[in-house]
Structure formats: structure tokens, C-alpha cells
């Protein structure tokens, strides 16, 4: 039974008449997380995890009609049973479990298996059909434990300071930036941040997330403030005149794509830190196995490779084209 189907508007549940992360405006949208390729503007009603509500309002406007649900809480749509479960991707990110007449489908949204300390840790959900992301669905993507990466970042900051340079870390404004702040908060006394990071940060502090204070960079911030500073900026700030004021500085990019040297060279970064909020190859396989799903659909990234691999392993798997980034996600800061 097709509990969910793939339509031009997005992933659709006909029996419950709702969409999951639709890319065209619909009546009812169940949202996995607040990133812009998943939570789009223009839907009449939104449902998301409680922690996502303020983020959705921040990004889509205060006037959206949004309902929050706790992880594990059950909501019925025309008798179809819907619940949200931790995906470990960013604060408030959820997998969507949909059950109709005993048939269970789960749409993963984006996820990672490692506990980042802020997002509720990923929980595998048993299901018949699993719709999984596959952004890093190639065996070359293997993440080191985050502690190792953060030690590397700390060391890099220290070396920059010895050389009298500021450390500019590029990290996506929602998710990666908070993860950096959370893990570096005991190593760094003071953070400066781009407005794109300072704004959601403000909202998250109000919500009580255990994050250190940051100083927002404005045109009035004196140049002296940047000496030896630790600055967090979104990837869009790269190659931007905005960065010139930090001279002298060293640029570090935090992204799973930094795993491949060519990507790093292309970005002209001084350092690349392989830090991702997506599952690596082994993580994707573990997640799929843990669901016990008989049928798997893979979306975004290396979806065809991942589906072919699963098929070889005896799991009925297929690639589905969605509008969540596709491979161009390589240039998409949300990775």
C-alpha cells in the first residue's frame, strides 16, 4: 500500500491529505526541519516539532499558521496516524512516521547519527518503507568523531592567534553555527557573528538553548574587535567585501564536502573541517538497517548510487527525484 506518494508538489499522503516538506504551496504541510529547502513559504497550515516552531516563524513570518508537536506525540489526519521522531540533524529536526491501517512509512528528512549535543539524537524507527536522504551516499564519505574535528578547530584557532590572525569559520547559519558555538564555548572566550547567525541565535537563546553569547558584527564594530577574534559567518559571506575588514584572517570551512581535496581547493579556504550534519555512508547504512524497512526510497545527493547499492544488498530501493537540493547541494550551504 502506498501510504505516501511522490507528486509534483512533494511527498503526499492521500488518505490524510497532507504533504511532507512540500516544495509548492499546499494546504497542510508537515515539516521535518526549518532549512529553506524543506520548510517553504506559502502553505496554509504547518505542523512541526515544538523546537522548530520559533525557527519556522523566524524564517517564514510570524503570521504563518503553525502547530507544534513533541517528539513521539501522535496526531491524526483523517485517521492516519502521524508522529515526529528525532532526526539529529539540527534543533527541532524530525523524521515523520506515518501509519495507515498498520502500514508504516517514515520520511527521514535530513539526519545524522552522531549526537551533536543540541539536536535530540537520531532514533531509528521500525517501518515498512523508509524514505531516506542520501546527501553523502558514497563510501568516500566517512566522518571522524566530532571531538577530533573540534580539537582540530581549536588548535587551528590557537595557531591563528599565535600568528596574530582572526579565525573566520564558515558554517550554515542554522544548525552548523550553533553546533560550533556549543562545542567551542569552553575554548573560546568571545564569539563574533554575522547577522545571519546572530538573528536565529537570539531566538534560540530566548528559547533557553545552552549556547554562549555572541556579538553581532555591525558596520560600527571597530576593527580592533577583529584582532585574533573567532568569527562565525554563513557560507554566503565568502568572497564578499564584508570579510575584508577582518584582515589579517584565516578562513576555515566546516562542511562534509571538505572531505574531498578538490572541493576545498576550489573554495580557496585556508582550512577545511569535515563536519557535517548529515549521515556519512556508514551512518546511512546503519539507519536503513535499523528501520528494518523492506522498501527504501533515496532522495537527494548520491541517491541513485545509494539505491543501487541497497538493491545489491537485497533491499528493494529506488531513487526519487525531489526538490531538496539534489546534487547541487554541493554549493548549498545547508550541507
Amino acid at each position: 500500500m502506498n501510504v505516501l506518494q511522490f507528486t509534483d508538489n512533494g511527498i503526499y499522503c492521500a488518505a490524510g491529505d497532507f504533504y511532507i516538506d512540500p516544495w509548492k504551496p499546499v494546504k497542510r504541510a508537515v515539516i521535518t526541519h526549518a532549512h529553506s529547502d524543506h520548510a517553504r513559504w506559502g502553505n496554509q497550515y504547518y505542523l512541526c516539532e515544538n523546537a522548530s516552531v520559533p525557527l519556522l516563524r523566524l524564517r517564514l513570518g510570524n503570521d504563518i499558521k503553525v502547530q507544534g508537536a513533541a517528539y513521539g506525540e501522535t496526531i491524526f489526519f483523517n485517521g492516519v496516524k502521524v508522529s515526529l521522531h528525532p532526526a539529529g540533524h539540527i534543533i527541532g529536526s524530525a523524521q515523520i512516521r506515518v501509519e495507515q491501517d498498520g502500514e508504516v512509512w517514515v520520511a527521514s528528512g535530513d539526519y545524522k547519527l552522531e549526537n551533536d549535543g543540541l539536536s535530540a539524537p537520531f532514533e531509528p524507527i521500525r517501518c515498512h518503507t523508509f524514505i531516506t536522504e542520501s546527501t553523502f551516499g558514497l563510501p568516500i564519505y566517512r566522518w571522524a568523531p566530532q571531538q577530533q574535528i573540534f580539537n582540530g578547530i581549536t588548535q587551528w584557532i590557537y595557531e591563528n592567534q599565535q600568528a596574530g590572525k582572526a579565525s573566520v569559520l564558515l558554517a550554515y547559519s542554522l544548525g552548523k553555527a550553533q553546533r560550533l558555538l556549543y562545542h567551542l564555548k569552553d575554548k573560546v572566550d568571545h564569539f563574533l557573528a554575522h547577522g545571519a547567525i546572530a538573528i536565529p541565535h537570539e531566538v534560540l537563546l530566548q528559547e533557553g538553548w545552552p549556547l554562549p553569547p555572541v556579538e553581532r558584527i555591525t558596520p560600527e564594530t571597530p576593527k580592533t574587535a577583529f584582532k585574533n577574534a573567532v568569527i562565525i559567518a554563513p557560507p554566503s559571506a565568502e568572497d564578499n567585501v564584508w570579510m575584508r575588514r577582518f584582515q589579517p584572517y584565516s578562513l576555515g570551512i566546516c562542511s562534509g564536502w571538505m572531505q574531498v581535496r578538490g572541493n576545498m581547493r576550489r573554495r580557496n579556504a585556508d582550512a577545511g573541517f569535515v563536519l557535517s550534519d548529515h549521515a556519512d555512508w556508514a551512518g546511512l547504512l546503519d539507519a536503513v538497517t535499523a528501520t528494518g524497512a523492506e522498501q527504501v526510497y533515496s532522495t537527494h545527493g548520491f541517491s541513485s548510487v545509494f539505491a543501487r547499492y541497497l538493491t545489491e544488498k537485497g533491499i528493494a530501493a529506488r531513487e526519487v527525484t525531489t526538490s531538496y537540493g539534489d546534487e547541487e547541494i554541493i554549493n548549498n550551504p545547508e550541507s
Binding site: 558514497l138 563510501p139 568516500i140 566517512r142 564536502w257 572531505q259 574531498v260 581535496r261 578538490g262 572541493n263 576545498m264 581547493r265 576550489r266 580557496n268 579556504a269 585556508d270 582550512a271 577545511g272 548520491f302 541513485s304 548510487v305 543501487r308 547499492y309 545489491e312 539534489d326 546534487e327 547541487e328 554541493i330 554549493n331
Partner: protein, 534 residues
């Protein structure tokens, strides 16, 4: 090995020349002596002998990881580098070994006559001993080709800084035929006491492209003009009764060109000529394509000698009667060269003719004949200038003719390598032939990073089919392709082969219906194709 891996990492990431220079000179100041000699050899294109090949590496990696062939290939096409792909795929090491670079290189060299099993055992053991960065470097040592943005010039400057030797002198010291196995860096850099290697070439002097009109160079009288030839830049050296032919890539290519053997008796000892190796018939150069048939081969066949005979078109004399005369003026060197070429009367040694011109305007007119002469344009050389080292602005200029262009549509795309890894950057283009599209060239460069990102994104959304790493795309994007020459070719479906094709610009303004036709290409071949490169 760790130190070398870190050096490679830094060199390949840094975009700042000073930072690279600093890292290299730091390396040369602190690395073990034997490692230094190897690094010098590696970064100056002196590859160690291949004892293990890429296919073997790939096969063993697949065995270790248990991956399917197709999955390995997908990884390879995404990473764009075999050595790196393998380094990323291997399981974490279990037996760390800290050994210097030369240890691994020497071990590798000893495998030359080893059995396949011994080779495999060694490689697997090495992979298990090295960390990720070291594995990458180790694999690159085997597959060759360290393209990490270190020019010979930069390395020379770094060494010059560490050892406090004049860069030009140093450049000469490290050129020529030496093997890191039996020479140390100290010996190389103290050679004036031990006697020079007879084969050693001089560093080539390279021209910059002239951007503006030649009038900016001053008075006509101070300049010598020659045709610019599209061959292999080379040096012919006759010393101690032996003849050596060097390419600009500092490769000894004497054996590839038996035509030059008579020069061994004809040239006096202590002579070094600079010039162009060209395939030549009836007073005109043949398409570069014919020369290409000679480059790849180690042993030249009789048929090749007949079909693609070469000459040496000399344009400079660097050493005469055993004396380095590079400090003399071009006018003086040229006079000596002319006398020499006339005296020895060897058909295989020709003189690059000087173009006589009265004014810049006249020369500008003459330049228009370049293509008919089978040349790429003009060379302008200051008569009063010494022969310098490397690419230097001021005294030598190349003034190329404008390229030929054609508007074409992209039909296939493939992911690139190196810094273009995981991006679709290698494209195949087609022209129209009735309602068919006929592929005629590939091009890899010419777009800005921003345009590449845009095209890459478009390709991912407009692919029709996938054939291994190649994607067929909807024929919609039109580009202007520029190239230096065109020649008939029966190896290509279109019947033509282009020389140096690249993307000139993205014609967003042009619909596919208005691209050029196969007939247009053939017309270009008729008009330009007789004498110029392929």
C-alpha cells in the same frame, strides 16, 4: 612521510605564493637530506620508476574494501583522483609506521622485479601503516603527477632562499640528467667543484603574451620579429662528443628524434641551441597532429620517420665553444647562430627566419599571414637583451593571432578532476548537420568558477541519460568555442580535429537553432586547415 604529507597539503591548499614559498623553504631547511633530494626530483618532474600501476592499486583497494567495481568507479568520478579515492576508501590503519619519505620511495623502487604477490603484500602493508594524508601522498608517488600548484620556478626560489644561491645558477644546477638514488642535494648544489654533467640544459627563457599593440614596446629598430611556431620547444646540446635533446619539460628526448643524429658530427663540442622541434615538409610545418604521433612513442618506426619527419628550427645560441654566452645580446648570439647554421649545412638544422619590417603597422599587416605560414603568430625579441631564465616580462613577447571560433551546443558532460572534482566541468560540444548534432570537440576550460557552478547546476537538472561517468544533457546551452588550428581527422566523427579548443564565452543570447553547422566547420578547415595544427 608525515612532514612531506603536510607539505603537500599546505601547497595544494594555499593560494598565496609567499605562504607556499615559506613552506617549501622551511621544508628544505628541516627535512632529512635524502627526503629533500627526492622532493626536488618529484617537483621537477623526475618521476620515480613505476613499479606498481594504477590498475593494481585499484584492484587491491577493491579487494581490501569489498566494494563493487561500479561503486569504486562512482567514487573515483566524484573525487577525480585515483590516489585520493583509494586513500578515502581504505579502512583506518591498524599498524602505524613513522618512516621518512625516502624509505617508502626506496621500498617502492625495490619492487621493480618483484612478483605481483610481493608487490601487493607491500602495498597493503603500507596502506595499513600510513594515515589518510600519507596514504594519499603515497598513492600519488606511485601513480605519478604531483599537480599541486608548485612551479619549478617556485621550488627554485625556495631552494635559493634556503641555500643562499642565485636562482638562475640554482636552476641550472638542478637541471639535466640526475637520479635521486645516487646523488644528494648537497652534491647537486656544489657541482661547480665536481664538474658539470655534460647533458645539462639551460633553463628556458619564456615569453609573456603581448596584450596591447606593439607600439607600446618602443622603437621598431630595437626589436627582432620571428614567426611563432607550434612545435616542441627544445634544446640541442653537443658536449664531450655526445648529443642531447631536451624538451621544455626538462625531459631528455634524444632517442625519439633519430633525425638529429647527424648533428652529433656536424656540431662542434660545446654548443647549445634553443629552438623548436617541428614536423616539416616542403618548407612548411605540418599540423601539430603529425608531431603528436612522434611524442608518445618510445621507439620510432620507419613509417613515422617518413610521414612525420622533424627538423630543428633554431632561434638562439646559448653556449658556443664551451662558453655560456647567455649574457651576450640577442643580436650577437643571433649572428653567431646564423654563421653556425650556414657553415654546417645540415638539412635537419634550420634557422628561424627573421621577419624584416619597417614599421609596427607593417608588422601588424604581416602578422595576418601567420596562419598561412603555419604559425601561431609572432615572437618579438629585444635585440639588446640577454637570454634570461624562466618566464620574465620585458624582452620576449609572443603576439599570437586571434583564435578561430565557432558557436556550438553542449551535449555531454563529465565531472572534472583536481579542484574541479565533483563538478561537471568537462564538456563535449556539437555543431548542426541538418537536424543532427555532430560532436566535434571537448573543452575543459574558459568558464569562470561562477559560470561553472551555474552550468553544473543546470546539467544536474537537465540530464537525459547516464553512461558511466558521462551525462547526456538536453542540447540547450550554447558556447563560443575558440581554437588555434583545425586539421582533417578520420579519427573524429566530425572529420576535423581542433588544436587547443577552449570555451571563449557562454552565448546565453544565442538559441540552439542559430549555432554553426558542420559545413561551417569544413569551411574553416578549407580556409585555415592546410598548414596549421590539428
Amino acid at each position: 612521510m608525515q612532514q612531506f604529507a603536510e607539505l603537500v597539503q599546505l601547497l595544494s591548499n594555499s593560494t598565496k605564493t609567499n605562504e607556499k614559498l615559506g613552506a617549501l623553504s622551511q621544508y628544505f631547511a628541516t627535512a632529512p637530506d635524502k627526503d629533500k633530494t627526492w622532493v626536488l626530483a618529484l617537483f621537477s618532474g623526475r618521476r620515480p620508476k613505476r613499479t606498481v600501476n594504477s590498475t593494481q592499486l585499484k584492484t587491491w583497494c577493491i579487494q581490501v574494501t569489498g566494494l563493487s567495481d561500479w561503486l569504486f568507479e562512482e567514487c573515483y568520478h566524484t573525487v577525480g583522483d585515483l590516489g585520493e579515492t583509494i586513500a578515502l576508501l581504505l579502512p583506518p590503519r591498524t599498524n602505524p609506521v613513522a618512516a621518512p619519505l625516502h624509505y617508502w620511495l626506496e621500498q617502492l623502487q625495490q619492487l621493480e622485479k618483484a612478483t605481483e604477490e610481493t608487490k601487493q603484500a607491500f602495498i597493503l602493508q603500507a596502506w595499513d601503516a600510513l594515515d589518510n594524508g600519507e596514504r594519499f601522498v603515497f598513492n600519488k608517488l606511485i601513480t605519478g603527477g604531483f599537480r599541486i600548484g608548485v612551479s619549478q620556478k617556485m621550488m627554485v626560489n625556495a631552494l635559493a632562499r634556503t641555500y643562499d644561491i642565485e636562482p638562475a645558477t640554482l636552476s641550472h644546477m638542478i637541471s639535466g640528467n640526475w637520479d635521486p638514488h645516487n646523488v644528494t642535494i648537497e652534491e647537486l648544489l656544489h657541482q661547480h667543484t665536481t664538474g658539470a654533467d655534460a647533458s645539462r640544459p639551460y633553463p628556458f627563457y619564456l615569453a609573456y603574451a603581448l596584450e596591447g599593440p606593439p607600439g607600446t614596446l618602443g622603437t621598431e629598430k630595437e626589436w627582432q620579429a620571428e614567426w611563432k611556431w607550434d612545435g616542441i620547444r627544445g634544446q640541442i646540446i653537443k658536449r664531450e662528443g655526445q648529443l642531447f635533446v631536451w624538451s621544455r619539460g626538462e625531459e631528455l628526448i634524444t632517442e625519439k628524434f633519430p633525425e638529429f643524429v647527424p648533428l652529433n658530427t656536424a656540431l662542434p663540442d660545446g654548443t647549445v641551441l634553443d629552438g623548436e622541434i617541428l614536423t616539416f615538409a616542403d618548407g612548411l610545418p605540418l599540423p601539430f597532429q603529425t608531431l603528436q604521433t612522434r611524442i608518445g612513442r618510445k621507439n620510432v618506426t620507419r613509417k613515422q620517420l617518413q610521414e612525420a619527419p622533424v627538423i630543428f628550427l633554431s632561434y638562439d645560441l646559448l653556449e658556443w665553444e664551451g662558453t655560456d654566452i647567455r649574457e651576450k645580446t640577442l643580436a650577437e648570439r643571433r649572428a653567431l647562430l646564423e654563421t653556425l647554421v650556414q657553415n654546417i649545412q645540415a638539412p635537419v638544422l634550420q634557422l628561424s627566419p627573421e621577419i624584416i619590417f619597417g614599421s609596427w603597422d607593417e608588422l601588424t599587416q604581416l602578422r595576418l599571414q601567420s596562419r598561412d605560414k603555419g604559425s601561431e603568430g609572432l615572437m618579438l625579441k629585444r635585440k639588446a637583451a640577454a637570454y634570461q631564465v624562466g618566464r620574465k616580462r620585458g624582452d620576449w613577447w609572443k603576439w599570437k593571432i586571434d583564435p578561430l571560433t565557432i558557436d556550438a551546443v553542449m551535449i555531454y558532460a563529465q565531472k572534472g578532476h583536481g579542484r574541479r572534482s565533483n563538478l561537471y566541468t568537462d564538456y563535449t560540444f556539437a555543431v548542426k548537420d541538418g537536424d543532427q548534432l555532430v560532436p566535434f570537440t571537448k573543452a575543459y576550460s574558459g568558464l569562470t568558477d561562477k559560470e561553472i557552478a551555474e552550468v553544473d547546476n543546470w546539467i544536474k537538472r537537465h540530464s537525459l541519460e547516464k553512461f558511466g561517468p558521462v551525462r547526456t544533457v538536453q542540447p540547450q546551452l550554447v558556447f563560443e568555442i575558440a581554437f588555434e588550428g583545425i586539421a582533417a581527422s578520420n579519427r573524429h566523427k566530425s572529420g576535423v580535429a581542433l588544436r587547443f579548443p577552449r570555451i571563449n564565452r557562454w552565448r546565453k543570447d544565442k538559441p540552439v537553432a542559430e549555432i554553426n553547422t558542420l559545413e561551417d566547420l569544413k569551411e574553416l578547415l578549407r580556409v585555415n586547415g592546410h598548414n596549421t595544427g590539428s
